[in-house]
């Protein structure tokens, strides 16, 4: 019985983390999947969101900046706003870069953020991080506080999914995909490509900021290591590519799937003897890479492919939204 309970709590924790990664993946899907923006700095926006809410919602502390004891909801909204503002600044500088250069620039900017967070000890408590971040529903008894958090995360994923699906099927999604497919032709079709790309970049970054804020509240702790390129950027990219780029359902499925693989392999590696455990940490990265290879061999466009408007299915309501 006790063991079953343990598995239940573990499953709730696993799904909550998977849901938070789904938020991050949905954000990246707007940028890469819809619009073709190669953002290799997911971790940066994740960190901005996490630290913003951490500063705003914790109790005052001598160790770090902030401590305004705001409610978690306000922290999450502020996290989205902060990420959006910084994304606007980043986009102003590098949105016109070709995709590979955009990747280099965003990766570099995210690393700058991480190093600032690590070294500006007076504000961020450096590598020791910010702790005692309040978690929604933590006053509820175990395990209901965990279950409530899971439900909150899934409600957020569901709302985002609904909004982004509508955006994707609307002319908005169509024009973003047109930019992804052929920038010159989109310009020749009268589209203000730079403005639209900036819009997609900001929206995606705001959602990544929300993901970071959720993570901070869920773990109750944030440090610069959580914004490492491998655990934040790389993993989110793998999730999107495996699940299916440009498909919102694919983004969510990919996040849950890859997080489950990533997380359950950790159970095995932590039980190995110490000298092996250290090496096994790298084996996990290898295993995720292998999974990526195998899945892309079988499903080149990811598990769920991109779907486009087909008139045969919309013949009865012509033009009534591009439902695939």
């Amino acid at each position: 019985m006790e063991q079953l309970y343990g598995i239940f709590v573990y499953a709730v924790f696993l799904l909550t983390m998977g849901g938070i990664y789904a938020v991050l993946t949905l954000g990246l899907n707007i940028q890469w999947g819809f619009t073709g923006l190669f953002n290799a700095g997911v971790a940066g926006f994740f960190a901005i969101g996490a630290y913003t809410t951490a500063f705003l919602t914790t109790a005052p502390s001598a160790r770090h900046f902030g401590g305004f004891e705001l409610p978690a909801g306000a922290g999450m909204v502020a996290a989205m706003v902060a990420s959006a503002l910084i994304a606007w600044g980043v986009a102003r500088i590098c949105i016109r870069l070709r995709s590979d250069y955009l990747a280099i620039a965003t990766l570099g900017i995210a690393e700058i953020f991480r190093l600032v967070l690590k070294n500006e000890t007076w504000a961020t408590n450096g590598a020791r991080g910010v702790s005692l971040i309040p978690k929604p529903f933590e006053h509820l008894p175990e395990p209901w506080n965990q279950v409530a958090m899971l439900l909150l995360v899934f409600a957020i994923v569901l709302v985002l999914y609904g909004l982004l699906e509508r955006a994707r099927r609307a002319p908005w999604g169509r024009v973003m995909s047109a930019i992804r497919e052929n920038e010159a032709a989109a310009r020749a079709a009268g589209k203000n490509v730079d403005k639209l790309r900036i819009e997609a970049f900001i929206l995606g970054a705001a959602i990544m900021g929300l993901g970071g804020a959720l993570m901070a509240h869920h773990i109750k702790f944030i440090d610069p290591n959580m914004a490492e390129p491998v655990s934040a950027t790389f993993l989110v990219w793998v999730m999107l590519v495996i699940g299916g780029s440009a498909n919102n359902r694919g983004a969510i499925l990919g996040a849950l799937l890859v997080w489950t693989i990533w997380s359950t392999t950790e159970i095995i590696t932590t039980r190995l003897p110490t000298e092996w455990a250290l090496k096994a940490a790298y084996l996990r990265i290898f295993l995720v890479g292998l999974a990526l290879q195998l899945i892309l061999q079988r499903y080149p466009g990811g598990i769920f492919r991109e779907r486009r408007l087909r008139t045969s299915t919309t013949a009865s309501n012509r033009g009534g939204g591009s439902h695939p």
């Binding site: 002319p171 995909s177 497919e181 032709a185 020749a188 009268g190 203000n192 408007l309 087909r310």
Partner: protein, 276 residues
């Protein structure tokens, strides 16, 4: 300048819809377009011919706002539009097609056209989420226009196909279709006939003519197919080495020894390239 200021074919009163004045563009040490000047009359089909490297596409790129001129002016309908961005020129009515088709590959053929029209409330995220009825209404209009266009282009049966799967010729038709999705005042066609099979080429020619006569589109066409130019254009501008060599009717231009010279690189060993 070789541009003939006292040309009075269509009544001297009508100002040209497009006037290019001493337009110049250099790339490093190479001057691709060199103080080039010409005018285009509204409602007509004007051809631009010239050997490879004469600067034809570079001029199109500048007129369409894809490339800023090094110097000189572009007047559209009397306004100086030099260096305006492409999307603003589009809103003023300048639409261009590409020599190598630029389709939206992983969008369907229908979507390729539905992207184009302006003032689509559904392109604003806020409207998508707050006034879906308005978005849907406009979307229906856009759909109908795209359907009409695809039927005209005889591509309606391919509407659900991803554009990347079309043949080269069909992609050329789609390029023309993009221009038809707005109210263009000047359509720049960059080698519409290149890579198009002879049967389709006849169709394409008839379509261009119909659009000019029935809808009053003004065309400027870059083309190497002299028969296509001869059958469509009353007036032809010949470019060589970045500036206007001569202009006139296709017949007059064909007989001009300087034109033959330009095409044959100054060798002058016969006019075989011109088939006439």
């Amino acid at each position: 300048m070789d541009t003939n200021p006292d040309r009075t074919v269509s009544g001297a009163a009508a100002p040209p819809i497009l006037a290019v004045e001493a337009l110049t563009r250099s790339f490093g040490g190479l001057t691709a377009v060199d103080r080039c000047s010409f005018r285009v009359d509204a409602g007509r089909i004007t051809g631009i011919i010239g050997p490879n490297g004469a600067g034809k596409t570079t001029i199109f790129n500048m007129v369409a706002g894809a490339l800023p001129p090094s110097s000189g002016r572009i007047l559209f309908d009397g306004d100086d539009v030099s260096s305006l961005p492409t999307h603003e020129l589009f809103h003023r009515g300048i639409v261009r097609t590409f020599q190598i088709p630029h389709e939206f590959g992983r969008l369907t053929v229908l979507e390729n056209l539905m992207v184009v029209p302006t003032s689509q409330p559904g392109e604003r995220l806020w409207r998508v989420w707050t006034s879906p009825a308005r978005v849907r209404r406009r979307e229906r209009e856009v759909w109908e226009r795209a359907e009409d266009t695809l039927r005209f282009l005889t591509l309606w049966d391919l509407r659900d196909e991803l554009a990347t799967n079309l043949s080269g010729g069909q992609k050329k038709l789609l390029e023309l279709g993009r221009a038809m999705m707005t109210e263009p005042r000047l359509v720049l066609l960059d080698e519409p006939g290149a890579g198009v099979n002879p049967t389709l080429l006849v169709k394409l020619r008839d379509m261009i003519r119909q659009l000019n006569q029935r809808r009053g589109y003004t065309f400027v066409i870059i083309e190497h197919d002299m028969d296509l130019i001869a059958s469509l254009c009353e007036r032809v501008i010949v470019l060589a080495e970045g500036s206007v060599l001569t202009e006139g009717t296709m017949d007059a231009v064909r007989r001009d020894p300087r034109v033959i010279d330009a095409y044959l690189g100054g060798g002058g060993e016969g006019g075989a390239a011109h088939g006439g």
